[in-house]
Symmetry: C2
Subunit: 221 residues, 2 copies
DNA sequence: AAATTTACTAAACATTGTTTAGTTTGTCAA
DNA sequence: TTGACAAACTAAACAATGTTTAGTAAATTT
């Protein structure tokens, strides 16, 4: 009876685990297919039917894994925020507050330009109209902004920046890196390719100047 | 024979003019209806059928005035650029280059926040996938950017800014005001309303600091 | 008055997201 | 192993979309 009992549990658990695994695999297939289609021709190109054809299932099956099309994009967005937050954490090892904040800005723009589609979904497009019923879904986004404010505060505490208003300064810095990123992503065609690197570099130098502002004034060249 | 000839022309011209007038009126009706729907619930809410119902014509009629839905939005975009350029021109009366450039930035953000939908169509959304076959369609956009570069150059010539690179500096400034504008428009819900004015003001002060950078260093408080 | 052009529309088409109702397959107690 | 049950999947249909076609009625020209 003991063996029978255990085998039952073991069997159940094995099956249950496989089922969870299968479900996650299926979800991933859908997300991968959606991202692939989005990459190729944008939001309009991502149809449930095309996703279904890509993963070789019927359209109806997709609705067993995602409530609707919106949820698919919302999930992709969440994945983007997760990756984004992880990459941003990497700068926290830098001790010097100014260097850290500058690196933070660089990582931000780097992420945006290396993950254009994610960035688009996260901060530009309004397509997957946000589902902000659960605040926790927005968590990594909030965490990222908190991280920025924390790093801004370190600089202000160390005597940098003209203003001592953390909130406003953080917003201004965010605006700057977001502006650089989104213009390059959405209006990149306006700028010749050979200029782009130069422009990013130049913009980041200006970012450095903003952060360093107070210090440089006292130096008085 | 003379009178017959002239009356013919006059008659034709009257009819022709009325036809042109009618056509323009109809186009305006369509555009107004589209904008009204867009305002209420965004791009997804603007359907040809709803526009048709609003203006009390059949859906097919709309296709006599616009090639497709895209062209409707493209036209709205062009109207936005026109308004945008006109408003920006107003700062050109300011003689002092620094004051002029700061005012330019203020007018930019002001336009964006007062014409959120236009700004969205012009610089954020990718929905009306751009029709850039004719460069002239993009003219007022280019003019606006040229205006900015001109104003940046005046400041650089007058000894402001750390960098002497007009192209990069102009892009950085554009990034900044675009970042402020687009974040407020698209992610405004993240910021309590009572902070918004404060944040805009603070950001514009930072903009002023960037522009004034060289000057302030030599002053050395 | 006849011919022609213009302004308009009803009806249809293909494509979309999504639901329903049902089938097939897998799981498990007996 | 078998019969009941649940899980996984799908064909077919639905309503809404952008757009086209083929045609009508009115305005205009000849």
């Amino acid at each position: 009876m003991f063996s029978k009992f255990t085998t039952l549990i073991i069997k159940n658990m094995g099956i249950q685990e496989r089922k969870v695994r299968n479900r996650k695999e299926m979800e991933k297939h859908v997300l991968d297919a959606a991202m692939k289609l989005y990459l190729k021709e944008g939001y309009k190109n991502v149809t449930i039917r095309k996703i279904a054809k890509t993963i070789e299932y019927s359209p109806a099956t997709i609705y067993l894994y995602f409530k609707d099309k919106e949820e698919i994009f919302f999930t992709l967005q969440k994945l983007g925020f997760k990756k984004f937050y992880t990459e941003q954490l990497s700068v926290q090892t830098i001790k010097d507050p100014v260097k850290r904040l500058i690196a933070h800005g660089e990582v931000y723009v780097k992420f945006a330009l290396e993950n254009k589609e994610y960035y688009d979904l996260m901060f530009i497009t309004s397509e997957p109209v946000f589902m902000f019923k659960d605040r926790k879904d927005w968590d990594t986004g909030v965490n990222s902004y908190d991280l920025l404010k924390q790093n801004v505060k370190s600089c202000i505490d160390a005597g940098f920046f003209k203003s001592k208003d953390v909130e406003t300064t953080a917003f201004a810095l965010w605006s700057f890196v977001h502006g650089v990123s989104s213009l390059l992503i959405k209006r990149g065609f306006m700028i010749p390719d050979e200029f782009k690197k130069h422009i990013v570099k130049g913009s980041l130098e200006i970012l450095g100047q903003i952060i360093n502002s107070k210090q440089q004034i006292t130096i008085n060249k």
